[in-house]
Symmetry: C2
Subunit: 347 residues, 2 copies
Amino acid sequence: MKIAVDAMGGDFAPKEIVTGSVAAAKKYGCSVVLVGDEPQIREVLDTLPGWDKLDISIHHTTEIIGMGEHPAKAVMRKKDASVVVATRLVSEGECDAVLSAGSTGAAVTAAQFILKRIKGIDRPSIATPMPSPEGTTLLMDSGANVDCKPRHLMQSAMMGSVYAKYVLGIENPRVGLLNIGEEETKGNEQARTTYPLLKQMKTINFLGNAEGRDIPKGTFDVVVCDGFVGNVVLKFGEGLAKTIIGLLKEAVKEGGLRAKLGALLLMPACKKLARRLDVEENGGAPLLGVDGCCIIAHGSSSAKSIKSAIGMADGYVKGDVLAHIEEAIMKEEILDDAALTGKSRNE
Amino acid sequence: MKIAVDAMGGDFAPKEIVTGSVAAAKKYGCSVVLVGDEPQIREVLDTLPGWDKLDISIHHTTEIIGMGEHPAKAVMRKKDASVVVATRLVSEGECDAVLSAGSTGAAVTAAQFILKRIKGIDRPSIATPMPSPEGTTLLMDSGANVDCKPRHLMQSAMMGSVYAKYVLGIENPRVGLLNIGEEETKGNEQARTTYPLLKQMKTINFLGNAEGRDIPKGTFDVVVCDGFVGNVVLKFGEGLAKTIIGLLKEAVKEGGLRAKLGALLLMPACKKLARRLDVEENGGAPLLGVDGCCIIAHGSSSAKSIKSAIGMADGYVKGDVLAHIEEAIMKEEILDDAALTGKSRNE
């Protein structure tokens, strides 16, 4: 696998991005093209002994898209932005995947404009893996689309199932629709109209409504929701975890020697737990529905998260996700039925 | 204050409900009317020495509304259900507040049918206090309304502000609109159309968009959202906290003597933290917008949570929430402007 990495995107770019890429090239034996400002990239590489023995190259670009910029405008205007060029390397067949930890909006827009959508998919979705005691719950979508129509959620459910099966290795992924009650008649209009349609689908194992608590519990492998709700949940979860850890640290500090000793003794057990939850291993989220592999990494990505996000791209390519999504679209004729919602696909 | 308590509602009714009510009568010096099956209530009371010295009475009822029942149908048919009778005691001026830990749908429906809405409010909202390091973030609404129109969110913002000011004692409550980005133009249609309207309001201190992470962080005192999103967030948070605690316990168990000793030493610091976060003290959530004090308690309420929920009713009554909401409605002529959304109030 050959991956184009946006070396300039992310809070700790290019240092953490380049360092993580080198670690991934070593671990997965993949080729990495570092896209961005050559002098800056080279400066980081020079601190990493042995990188020149790996299959790593630099593709120099002159522009950067910042976090505050309007995604569509920036992608249209900055033809030489690192994320734009990295995405183009995939569309031109030069690379198999693109990874960016920069502006999510810019990465999604670049993927939509340059890679284009898969035929039969109206909107791509960000599939975020959330750790649970059972393994991973895939949150579909976590922010690419808002105000989804039922068919968008159907497409999300189908793509999430494919990813869970062929990349996460879950045989018959349990799909749930995020809602505020278990009964079919519960929820907002979006959920109530989507439920019966998910029930009719052939390519997914739909088990009914999922409630908020089911996400951390791991009751479902794929939880389908509007990107507005998914994004709020994702950021709330991140914030809650950060707040709890911060408060615990403070409590230990204030608790004196006794609490400090306790924390020290507990550390190995907690570290084991963190490893089990793969907290730092869930570095990226694939953008499903575009015609190419695009991995969105967290803005605050460390080298470790970048490494794991490149591993994710490797899994995506090896799992042949694109072909399996196309296959599912063929089987799921229902997605092509304009009569489904009484509206045409392109409205 | 005289409170009507639905003694039959909740996973641990009537035992925990009655026990918590007695503790509250002792602590707050309030009168409690226990509404439900007299023999069962009396059986619990008999285990609580000294209850007969307090201002506690029993109002016998013969029916119960179960968790699985259709709220509206059940409230209409079961005229002698404990939650219906308890709510009626408030509408008849017999009591100042009603509390139920039973079906939330039934309690909300009973309040809407029997207490009626405050004039000027289209839909009541559940105001759930979420603990944060800064104090409390009020989540408005956490499940009473879905598919909200902008004016519903405006009313929520206004009522939440009143509650935060007059009950929680926050001078100029910081109000945020839950969204997926900071900019005014971000989000779904609901958020984008609501933002400029919140900005125009006179009775709230609107600071802009809140993101998911702002809820646990405590960046805002009142976070306004559609009940669908609020309910998902609330249940997700509960589930996440439960999952983390469960996993930590497991890790301690598997970590052997060393981890057990560590946990033991850490316990006092953690208990202090739990008290600071008021975890068990946030037993209820007021239903704002109905013409009377109605407190919704969690289905799994313990005696301790019921006690704190009754304390909440006490604060609501003493804070004169109803009068202050009516006052704010008068000031906020904007809420009465049908031209606001181009639609009439009753559509």
